[in-house]
Amino acid sequence: MSRNHRRAQCGIAPPDLLGRLAVEGDAQQREAAVRALATSAAIRSQRAVMGRLNRQLNLNLGQMIGFTVNPDRRLTIYDNQTNGRTFLPGVRVRDWGQPPVQDEAVNQAYDGSSATYEFYRDVFARNSLDGAGLELVSSVHYGVAFDNAFWDGAQMVYGDGSGRIFQVGGLTRSLDVIAHELTHGITELTAGLVYSKQSGALNESFSDVFGSLVKQYSLKQSAADADWLIGEGILVPALGKALRSMINPGTAYSGDRQPGHMDDYVDLPDNNDPRNDNGGVHINSGIPNHAFALAANALGGFAWEKVGKIWYTVLTTRLRPNSQFDEAAQATVDVAGTLFSATEQDAVHNAWKEVGVLS
């Protein structure tokens, strides 16, 4: 059988069969199945297969860019119907261009994804996560009273919140949380920062930076007017006002352990212990977060115009998977000088000095 014939067969095969061949077939079958899936419009309704490929073959989005087949479909929202991982993405409930539905979580995920897409397009001329119009897929109502939102390597996933940590409905209500999750996709496709210790804290920080900038952009806020909070108002009030404060790390909620200076860096192992947070990725991100907010405030104006552009350029062109704080800091100083002038370069350098990363 010719190789082309194999591909033709795969082109009419059910996506589940293709998915199985992509995992279990011989080398030719695997290649043909992956190609067929990648070029099939049916993949859009078979995101579960994509997720399985992502998990079982350890394909990343960069390797799956071929899945982008319809640049006119910017985003799609699915309902996980309180099931879990095995039912991702769930039932498709709102396509791109369709009017709002009754379910507020669906509309919030739709609007937040759309606003994030428009921010990256209008500010950085980036067409979606991959720069080539990759469809943004979100699933809402994940699990039962699930207190989390995450990026699974292929899509955004939002729980409803239990009312014990997150307010019920809070996770999709927060534009900066949605932009935070989507930015994880951009990081995966660009710098690929490893989600552990310092590189993981940088990964988290870039998501907070652009999460906050999407919110500021939507409100047309200057750096001075911004609250620099991530997830403001989504925790139950007894816990605190937000998940993180970029301008005052460690003050967002009762028990917030984020440092704002390298002197207070929390050196944790990455050992699967829930207390250690993949080596402190959500803890030590406070340091680069603080540097960004300080630089933005020093320069004033709209933070996305200068400091945001510097950080975006560094994320998408300068960093590598194992980059550490000092490398990221020096890259932002270098890029500030390339894109702007000594004024911007000094502001960025001083911010990193103030948080103890550069001397």
Binding site: S162, Y195, Y253, N272
Partner: protein, 103 residues
């Protein structure tokens, strides 16, 4: 029998603990609890390593203290077996559970 679920990481990076002790349950519910624990098969569940951690996925430690040595297993949102997810959801739904945020 006592089950302790510790969750960390996640979008928030907070560490939350949920405990359920069968002594706090009515007899029939305690039996149902034992059935849920048995179905989860904690002592036979492998701890698969995530190929590439999902950003903001939660980390789970589940500790079962019953007859015999305690059993402690670790998962993430990515690797949590469905039977264990159902056990976690069952415990989360019990009004007798005791919850705390670790500071």
């Amino acid at each position: 029998m006592k089950l302790t679920i510790r969750r960390g990481g996640g979008l928030a990076g907070m560490v939350a603990q949920t405990e359920l002790d069968d002594r706090s349950l009515p007899k029939t519910d305690a039996e149902a609890f034992a059935g849920e624990v048995a179905r989860a098969n904690l002592h036979e569940q492998p701890e698969p390593a995530a190929a590439k951690p999902w950003p903001d996925a939660q980390l789970y430690e589940i500790l079962l203290e019953a007859a015999g040595p305690p059993i402690s297993v670790h998962y993430t949102d990515e690797t949590l077996p469905e039977s264990v997810r159902l056990l976690v959801a069952w415990v989360d739904g019990r009004p007798e559970r005791v919850e705390s945020i670790e500071q």
